[in-house]
Symmetry: C2
Subunit: 487 residues, 2 copies
């Protein structure tokens, strides 16, 4: 007789109803060929005794299996595995009781250039490379608005499927906002609402690059943009970044011999070194984009955070978007969890990006998008920015003072004019990588791109997410670790 | 003299401050080579008179331009375009005053197989192909929970950057929920939280397919899945769908001579025809996936909506996820705007999908994900589902009765056992495509995949989003249009 008792294991503490566990197990036995067609199933009384479950439960399982056509009942003879099922050859891998050791057979691409993500503990003090402080964000206001908007007639409609390009009201408000803050001369046809900046990078890189193309980034640059370019199959070329930003002469020499289709830049504050792209390089870059026919991704992730002089106008404000695809995000302004960003580009490019957006993720969150629009109209955004800029400026000064006093002998940095991070070079006495490996033991989480640390013995230290007290602790601990590792 | 008055247009009604408009215009003139290096700029008094603006405004613009290095001032001689800028050759396209007619030069991929999206008016009665009714969703509860969760210590942490795989609590709750409802035997390592189902399709197709591969879908199938497969460059092969679902014998014949790497199916209710994949074809399909080594995307978009017998267990519950990547979504359960879905698959595949998710869109909305988890724990989800299933069942019956009584002479349909739509065949007297072209004139929006209409003279009529009164109006209007077009 079939080893029912050992094969058909019941877990009484599981959330799955027992009748469904039985039915499910029997279906698995049939699917895997262990119960063949015409096989007689024990009577409900027998099985209930074997499994030590209520007979009604077994009957319920059989009824389910019969309704689904796995079994059939013959009034006098009993219950059988359905004859009309196709011939099944036993599949060895289905015999295993655990499946975590099964190597999935179907081939799929692997992305070894993207490191596996390991989540950091969220509740320790974290040194990051320039995250905003979510605690300053008007989260309460956002959900209050979501809730009350949802009760209105027009708000209710936002819960239906909506425009792939994003909420029309937000796009119209953005036209005004971008004109006011960035002198950008566009219409709502130039805007595609995305999730965060990353989706913007993904969409533009995917649409611009073929495997035979070259894409240029700074040496070094934002890691997730590197990965995205590598994902497309294009060749990633790094060009020197100095005190004026990306070296456009080197870029020009490279373009002469290579089909460059994309240049990814963060001209306002270069990632990671925070330098601003000088105006003659800006012009040169635009000129090269026309001459060599490439798209510029202008990732302007921290335009809104400037503490001294006026920020430089984005390239997109000069170029009429024909060769520049500009990326901005509200995640940096509000909080990483508020995933609303945008691309501005030429309407023809926006139309193609919209088609790709359609298959990547149908649409965004129209209600949240409308509330972001409301934050522009009502002045909530401006109020929040004023408050945040004041606070971040004070944090920057405090942070840099601590860095100077506690690690001045080991580091070399410039106080940044804007943004959320200080590019900090460590001198050769410091083995930065080895030192940071011990951070967790000291109770701080270091959430910073390893590539730059390795390459430059430097790191981008974010000051924006740490209040004065936290900065004191974080730099105190960092200083301990660095000093222990230095000779 | 340079034609300042005609070139430098000021818009006094614009949201951009006038000084920024002036600065911006001058930067454009420099960038485009119209103002060459060393060119003398008019004095602030002269320009203020020419442009009819306050002199202080012009001074402010010049100060900004000087600070940014575009201009320099010579105390006695005046203000000039900076000499140190690179040599600029005039770029013709920058001369145009409007830029919408500029053809963007950079090459990029075009996706002609994806139709441009044209948003439908949201406030008319809409006939769709099976959307849920957002008005039944506990939206109020969701935002109330978001708001109060945000005030807690652990809720605040959710506003930081979070796990790419999605909220850990939701993944753990899903393990229990999927065991209970689908007999699925998995751990949280088998789950990746996505936005809606579409992101799931995009991620799995992108990772499974190369340009030399074949992917199989039903004839016909869900349009956005077709587009996604076409986007990967793989060849899309259509296999007949009959009353038992996808014809697995035809699939087998095809697999013998072609490298099939992916099969996309909606086995619970085939999209669009709503038939359920029979159990012997399910087994056959799993068997073929092992033999020919392809991944099955099981898009189980409406598993939770069954009105008569119990639903069939998903393939993923039989196969241990080694060859099946299963897609589910809360967008169908709650509302299209609640964009939280998931993939369950083998942990190794999940790890690679997570890397791709990282560059597509960094992460989801951790707070909303936690609230969805809370809806499972607290029973809110079950309550909502019970209410919705009761209501949809009643809407199905009402809708089908109306369809029978008003269009019975023109149509042929089966009352579906579950889901949100009725597959309705129209007889040859009806020119369905031409008829529907006039829908807007009759005040109804028809939001249904055109491909099926053209191919089968049939359409998938969604009943779930229309209450009894709306169904009456919608079918009334539809009936008018159909009868007018029939001969």
């Amino acid at each position: 007789m079939f080893p029912w008792k050992s094969t058909l294991t019941i877990n009484t503490t599981s959330a799955t109803p027992i009748y469904l566990q039985i039915a499910n197990n029997i279906i698995r036995l049939i699917s895997s060929g262990q119960l063949t067609k015409g096989h007689k199933i024990p009577g409900s009384r027998t099985l209930s005794e074997l499994l030590e479950v209520n007979r009604k439960t077994v009957i319920q399982a059989y009824d389910e299996l019969t309704a689904q056509g796995w079994l059939y009942s013959h009034p006098a003879r009993g219950t059988f595995v359905n004859d009309s099922l196709p011939i099944i050859t036993p599949i060895p891998l289905q015999n295993k009781s655990t499946h975590d050791d099964i190597n999935p057979k179907p081939d799929h691409s692997t992305f070894n250039f993207i490191p596996a993500y390991s989540p950091q503990p969220l509740n320790t003090i974290e040194i990051n490379d320039g995250s905003p402080d979510h605690r300053l964000a008007p989260i309460d206001w956002i959900y209050k608005e979501c809730k009350s908007l949802s009760k209105t007639r027009h708000g209710k409609l936002l819960h239906k499927y909506n425009d792939v390009k994003g909420d029309e009201t937000l796009r119209k408000e953005l036209v005004k906002y971008l004109a006011e803050t960035r002198g950008m001369n566009i219409t709502s046809d130039h805007i595609l609402i995305t999730r965060g900046s990353q989706m913007g990078i993904f969409l533009i890189a995917s649409i611009s690059l073929q495997a035979s193309d070259y894409a240029v980034v700074g040496d070094s640059s934002y890691d997730a943009a590197d990965w995205t370019i590598q994902y497309t199959g294009a060749t990633l070329q790094r060009i020197t970044v100095d005190q004026e930003g990306l070296n456009t002469d080197e870029l020009e020499r490279f373009c002469k011999n290579h089909p460059v289709r994309l240049v990814y830049i963060t001209p306002h504050h270069h990632f990671p070194t925070t330098v601003t792209l000088s105006n003659h390089r800006r012009i040169k870059l635009l000129e090269l984009s026309l001459k060599y026919n490439f798209t510029i991704i202008e990732d302007d992730y921290d335009y809104d955070f400037h503490y001294s002089s006026s920020p430089m106008l984005p390239l997109a404000s000069l170029n009429h978007q024909a060769h520049v695809a500009y990326i901005g995000s509200f995640s940096k302004i509000f909080a990483p969890s508020i995933r609303v960003g945008y691309i501005t580009a030429h309407p023809k490019l926006i139309n193609e990006l919209t088609k790709l957006r359609r298959i990547v993720d149908r649409q965004g969150d129209p209600l949240l998008e409308r509330v972001i629009a409301e934050s522009i109209t009502s002045g909530e955004l401006t109020r929040h920015l004023k408050k945040t800029i004041r606070e971040y400026k004070s944090r920057r000064d405090h942070f840099c003072k601590l860095l100077k006093s506690q690690l001045g002998d080991y580091t070399n940095f410039k106080i940044p004019e804007g943004g959320m991070a200080v590019w900090t070079n460590f001198n050769e006495k410091v083995k930065l990588r080895q030192a940071l490996a011990k951070a967790n033991d000291h109770g701080i989480a270091v959430n910073i791109d390893k590539q730059h640390i390795r390459k430059f013995n430097a790191m981008r230290l974010g000051f924006a997410s740490l209040n004065h007290e936290e900065a004191q602790i974080a730099i105190g601990k960092l200083s301990e670790i660095i000093k222990q590792s230095a000779f």
